[in-house]
Symmetry: C3
Subunit: 343 residues, 3 copies
């Protein structure tokens, strides 16, 4: 059908292409409430306007991952509708908090292309930026996906693989303007553990688990206007199961990590991430974290902590990879991010 969006194929991407993604979105108190209904979200800075103001912000922002999902969701029709695989994330930075009433839109640039040797598909790297209504960049990240080629007779483009940082240096992290943890209320936040209490190499089992329901992951995925068929149409995949949006697992694992990381309040950097195995309705998601690094920030009382967040279904705590170096089948997500935590 000429009128509907068939999505882009590998040959439709050119290096330097600017993709202006559709459907701007105003976010407000409704999205905040739904985030609390869909995930066990308890980080105080995103729950209480009073707590956020006591930390120097104008009020409680939209959860950082909710902002990510809104920005990401807009890119789906232009980037991943015909994607075979979502291969990775890098250089993700949150640059401005998103407040109720803000309107977000997304723009991506094609920064890398590499046709696969079989000639049937290729890898596309895009750098995506989310903007608010003032034209300020609220977040940015690089994502790469494998996309099918439609016309396999077309020549391969020149291979360009972007030079991406394995880890965002702590000095490149942007601390929200005004953030001040000098008078941080640990009682109200829920745990006493501060920056100095975490050691590099320490692992935390977040204990709690959530069994996933179809209605919930679909509502979450729709809320971000991510309309990939595979998440909604049970007839789309041969086994009749809807594939759960990887971002749903990210938010589920992050909110479960409250239990042990209640003070890792704001996410400011996304170093990388892999959706190791698919997740389906009925799976029970648990999470564990490893402390990877720590750093200072210039903001009063604010430290940075680099965390590996792993989501699993079943299995044992701290499961990750097998002897073959591959993710164990019960591992859903392996995410590497920077958070801000009181010192």
């Amino acid at each position: 059908m000429a009128k509907t969006n068939a999505g882009r194929f590998f040959e439709d991407y050119k290096l330097g292409d600017i993709l202006v993604h559709a459907v701007p979105r105003t976010v407000a108190e409704g999205e905040r409430a739904l985030y609390h209904a869909l995930y066990p979200a308890r980080h105080a800075l995103y729950s209480s306007d009073e707590f956020a103001r006591d930390c120097g912000l104008e009020g409680s922002p939209l959860d950082d991952l909710a902002a990510f999902h809104v920005v990401f969701g807009k890119t789906v029709p232009d980037v991943s509708l015909n994607a075979v695989a979502n291969l990775g994330y890098a250089e993700g930075r949150w640059l401005k908090p998103v407040f109720p009433g803000d309107t977000l839109r997304s723009v991506s640039e094609v920064i890398g292309l590499k046709q696969n040797s079989n000639g049937k598909s290729g890898v596309v790297w895009v750098k995506t930026r989310g903007f608010n209504q003032m034209g300020e960049v609220v977040m940015e990240y690089v994502r790469w996906v494998m996309v099918r080629k439609k016309d396999q007779d077309l020549p391969a483009p020149e291979t360009v693989i972007p030079d991406l940082k394995q880890v965002i240096p702590a000095e490149d992290l942007v601390v929200p303007e005004g953030l001040d943890f000098s008078n941080y209320d640990f009682d109200q936040a829920g745990e006493p553990h501060r920056w100095g209490d975490y050691e590099v190499g320490e692992k935390i089992d977040h204990v709690d688990g959530v069994t996933i329901e179809e209605a919930e992951h679909m509502m979450a995925t729709r809320l971000w206007q991510n309309t990939a068929k595979v998440h909604f149409d049970a007839t789309f995949r041969p086994n009749g199961q809807r594939l759960i949006y990887g971002g749903h697992i990210i938010s589920m694992a992050r909110t479960l990590s409250f239990n042990g990381l209640a003070n890792a309040q704001m996410i400011v950097g996304l170093n990388g991430g892999a959706h190791a195995n698919p997740c389906f309705s009925g799976d029970t998601v648990k999470a564990w974290t490893e402390v990877l690094d720590k750093a200072d920030t210039p903001a009063p009382g604010v430290g940075a902590i680099r965390l590996r967040l792993v989501a699993t279904k079943g299995g044992e705590p701290f499961d990750l990879k097998g002897e073959d170096g591959k993710y164990k089948p019960e591992v859903l997500l392996d995410l590497d991010y920077w958070a801000l935590i009181p010192q």
Copy 2:
């Protein structure tokens, strides 16, 4: 029980009766967010305050169908609690956008009555108006339902069948005050197709599908305070299945139609509609549209387009009626409406 509402029976309606429906409702950002969570809603005018303002409105209104559901939901206890069948809609017009903070209430007038020849039931026609807190009519429509008679010995009322328009003439459509599509942003709206790109008779397969879950249709139906037992109580029907509110299918089909009709932004007229077959949890809903007519409007850059929106479960694209003239069993909805679209 004397205290609970047993609903009205056919003999309880008199021509000219005014039914003041209960429970006024203030709608706000929460309802907007839930509409996005429950349906794949992406029309930009209802997603972004900025986009709506660029189109001359004061901000993003509540989705037209959400406004319809709120107005409709209030009528259920007085009109359709004992209804055997929801027979049709006509002469529906949206007269004022509903904005966050508005409070809606509904009033209906009995405009037609016809007892069935078996003496056991009859058809009631009501004209319903939804009002905002300023007393302005935000929408109106005619609906007719078949209602059981309680005392079959009572005489039949005089038969009065209202003279209803098959189609609302384009000149009777009300374009919201200030609406101006002169500077419409097609990139942000998601598709390039404008009024002139659609031809009468053209059919569009909207491609995407959503498999329906119990939790979702119940949340949607409750959100509009429609409390008909059959939607919520699995023990109510002999087969243990909850019947899905027909309005849920209308909203699902309309939001799926974004893919191909992203610019058919505002609904302004409802010419007619049939809930051809019931829908149950587990059904996968798809949608297609046929362009029925086109018209000018006096507003700058604003055209009107008349669309037949059909929702199906399974089957082939463009399925509608069999050789016997009856709806095929996979057809759920056949809706005839007017939308506003940039020229």
Copy 3:
């Protein structure tokens, strides 16, 4: 793991302990909309800002039970994480309406302790207060739970059983400032029955039923940031069923009671309550009410009515206890509360 919350055991409670519960929460229009989506909520005072203003309030408050759930949810990590049973409620009073934008936090005091004779567990009584951002108490209640003892060799504490009122005297009920039912609109409220129309001893079958879904009770329970594992993790209990939060049944029964008690608008007192039997997904919840008492209030046109609200799954209307004096297996909830109703 040292970083996660293992919950308190019986020996961790001392008489007079003040428990400052974590995670303050700002509630707004989003929570109101979700309450309407999750429950068949129709009481006009909580649905319409206009109706609430006509009753002398500044606008529509958060549903009283939603306020209760928010206050209660915060206490779970400190009070009931290791609870074996939720034994009772008493002396619950709503003292200030909660309005959109308010931020709630909770503080509890240990007011009673009694070790069980087996030495393996004990009963803890706490008095919980919910505060808004001005430091005003919005509600208070006493709850007692049976909690496991971790180290059974520790000596039993001195037994202190608080002296709790069986029923809150009507003169201790707090009517919200400004509440005035003199010009109450019975048409908009949905039923004509006023204070004088109800007789002590009268029973009302609320007729409607709702079949419970996993996704809905989990969303409701999360919305109040109640994170007890047993509600979310299907692998936690031997039979693979998630136990439904008792508060979900309270809200379901109360909202079902609209049909027959549409004018019992505001809840001001909780005299007691028992979760008689557990509820699971697939159960169909119905409700009935018995009028226990009536009283005057000093506010214009405002009467108080004391109601026993019983929720059941299956069974017959008005089922309660068997000949052995124990709750019948189909009874889920037996709640004793005071509401305000127009005279």
